[in-house]
């Protein structure tokens, strides 16, 4: 593809020997993880196992004490400003609360990254881009001109998603996108994530506690425990590892509930196709 790196086959995120320490307390030690292109990788782990710290390390908000992180072919742990600039416009991040700029409307929020990275884009075109991004993330038309304080929690997350998608990133980070959403909203958000992945060819790094999301949309799941990624794979592969924490996670009452709901959904989908 004419010397363009976009959507090549190299894995978008490679982490080797990552170590994060706060004082004497190590959150991560010898953590390895590879994210494959085009997949939705779910990241799970108990509270305090450093899921968010892992994400912050990858996107450069937290400097790891040791280890190597390579994102989209650029080594970020080298702290080369040019290297960082080369990837910042190729990923989008949705923070837990949406992290929208509260003095700007939703539409203007989406415009910010476009203005920052591509000032040559015409004002009118930039506005059009912002509008369709907002619509694509599943918000109604009226939301474009609203301020974040006028939005519900779910709508804030969608607006945050629209901003994360502003630059047509190859890599999307979602930090607990369905936490605090009602089940209907959460299911919608899941579907949306999957659709966007299919349409835009995204790779998604998804931190979640939502077992339904894991079953419905994740291709693989990485489990964080004991300061490292103890296992990566499809849910059935994970269950086969017989690790006590994983077993409790997926075979506990909630895990079973999500599993049977998933099976029911798949059966229904199959039945619908059969008709």
């Amino acid at each position: 593809m004419a010397g363009h790196q976009r959507f090549s086959d190299e894995p978008p995120i490679v982490i080797e020997g990552l170590e994060n320490k706060f004082g004497d307390f190590a959150v991560h030690q010898d953590l390895d993880l590879t994210v494959k292109r085009g997949e939705i990788l779910g990241v799970v782990g108990g509270s305090g196992t450093g899921k968010s710290v892992l994400m912050r390390s990858i996107i450069g908000l937290q400097t790891p004490t040791a280890g190597r992180i390579e994102v989209l072919g650029h080594e970020l742990t080298a702290h080369d400003p040019d290297e960082e600039l080369g990837v910042r416009n190729r990923w989008g991040v949705l923070f837990q609360g949406g992290a929208l700029f509260s003095t700007l409307t939703v539409g203007e929020n989406v415009e910010v990254p476009l203005k920052q990275f591509y000032p040559e884009i015409d004002d009118e075109l930039r506005k059009e881009i912002a509008r369709y991004k907002v619509m694509m993330s599943g918000l109604p038309e009226e939301a474009v001109a609203k301020y974040p304080s006028e939005l519900s929690g779910g709508m804030k997350k969608r607006a945050g998603l629209a901003r994360a998608l502003a630059l047509d990133p190859e890599l999307l980070f979602l930090d607990e996108p369905t936490a605090g959403l009602d089940p209907i909203g959460a299911a919608k958000f899941d579907r949306q994530t999957k659709e966007l992945r299919d349409t835009l060819g995204l790779t998604v790094f998804l931190i979640t506690h939502d077992l339904d999301s894991l079953y419905e949309i994740c291709d693989r799941v990485a489990v964080l425990a004991d300061k490292k990624v103890i296992a990566t794979g499809t849910i059935s592969e994970l269950i086969d590892t017989n690790h006590p924490w994983i077993d409790e996670y997926f075979n506990g009452p909630r895990g079973r509930g999500a599993q049977s709901a998933h099976n029911l959904n798949t059966e229904r989908a199959a039945a619908d196709k059969g008709d």
Binding site: G107, Y118, L125, K127, R131, M136, V144, D168, T199
Partner: protein, 370 residues
């Protein structure tokens, strides 16, 4: 990024014109390309995108917008391009980026009306709040076991003891400035010795307490507003209420008592340090020995000047604490409100302190303490 997007125009045998795009159509390459596309004035019948190497949603949007404008047909779209064009077309919208705003003349009128209306509300609010505090105080007196002694001691430390260094430094410097500047002016009348009267009376009557009140408003009034405001946001205050703890008793009363009492101590401390500052300048620059300066203070400053300062101090402390706690309790909604309310607490406290100080000045002169 490398790669530039181009287009070429070709005339078909059928009479229509085909615009063939090539190169990457990405958000990183589209800026220039879109400008050039805008310049195309011919009628375009078909848009050929079979030579486009890569396309993202922005590219798809530009292609579909162009095709719509010329009512042209898009041909040669790869699967993914087709997909993207479909996706952006179904998401197109005409919505405004900002909510509509009223014209300026209307907004000014509305804002003024709101201000006037709210002013009445906040006067009621403050008086009501003072009433709540008094009721809370009475009920604490009736049930001494509920008295928040620990919180009171803690607040006294924060408001009073922790403020000693900064207030001491500030007062010392003010004493120096008054003595030095006063001496320069008084020497024109050959009355340098009156510097002692100037420093002694002004720090004890006015500046010691006034500057301390301003400092306390900035240090503690703002902290009260921010602390209580944040507790309201995180629903801590609501949680206290449901458990049956009165936030007025547990949060407001210790702060108000601590601030009122510590203002007396800090105000007096400030005056004394101010005089010491003046005495240092007397020794260094005016040739008045340090201890002579202090002895002269005793002779020229009437004792009621001390009372004036000490009577004003608790009133100022009460105002600062009330403004802080009241504004903190008014916080609701979002974190921005905490900031606004904190600012309001400091500004209104300092303003009220200065206004009341003017009244005190007239009052004390009238009763013969001039």
């Amino acid at each position: 990024m490398d790669g530039v997007a181009h287009f070429t125009l070709e005339n078909d045998e059928g009479g229509g014109t085909t615009l063939a795009m090539s190169g990457p159509l990405l958000v990183s390459t589209i800026g220039q390309f879109e400008d050039e596309l805008e310049q195309v004035s011919e009628d375009i019948a078909t848009v050929d995108i079979s030579e486009v190497e890569e396309i993202d949603t922005v590219g798809a949007w530009v292609v579909s917008k162009f095709a719509r404008r010329h009512s042209a047909e898009i041909i040669g779209a790869s699967d993914s391009a087709h997909h993207l064009i479909g996706a952006v077309e179904s998401a197109s919208s005409e919505a405004d980026m900002r909510p509509e705003r009223d014209p300026v003349w209307k907004r000014v009128a509305i804002r003024m009306g709101e201000r006037v209306y709210n002013a009445r509300g906040s006067v009621y609010g403050v008086v009501g709040f003072l009433g709540q505090v008094l009721i809370g105080f009475a009920s604490v007196l009736r049930h001494p076991s509920r008295f928040p002694l620990k919180a009171l001691v803690r607040q006294m430390e924060l408001v009073g003891v922790a403020a000693l260094p900064i207030i001491g430094l500030m007062s010392f410097l003010i004493g120096i400035v008054i003595a030095q500047q006063g001496a320069v002016q008084l020497s024109q009348f050959g009355a340098e010795t009156l510097t002692v009267n100037l420093v002694g009376r002004i720090t004890l009557r006015e500046l010691g307490v006034l500057m301390t009140a301003i400092m306390v408003a900035g240090r503690s009034g703002s902290a009260f507003a921010a602390q209580i405001g944040t507790m309201k946001l995180t629903e801590e205050v609501d949680a206290m209420r449901t458990i049956g703890i009165s936030p007025i008793e547990q949060l407001v009363i210790p702060r108000i008592l601590a601030c009122t009492f510590m203002m007396i101590v800090l105000g007096f401390f400030s005056s004394v340090v101010g005089i010491v500052g003046g005495a240092v300048i007397g020794q260094v620059a005016l040739g008045i020995p340090f201890f002579t300066f202090l002895e002269r203070i005793q002779e020229v400053v009437p004792i009621y000047d001390v009372w004036v300062g000490l009577i004003k101090a608790p009133v100022f402390g009460l105002i600062v604490a009330l403004a802080g706690c009241y504004n903190g309790m008014q916080v609701q909604g979002n974190s921005e409100e905490v900031g606004t309310r904190t600012t309001m607490a400091v500004v209104s406290a300092i303003f009220a302190v200065i206004v009341i100080d003017a009244f005190f000045a007239v009052f004390f002169t009238e009763i013969g303490w001039g």
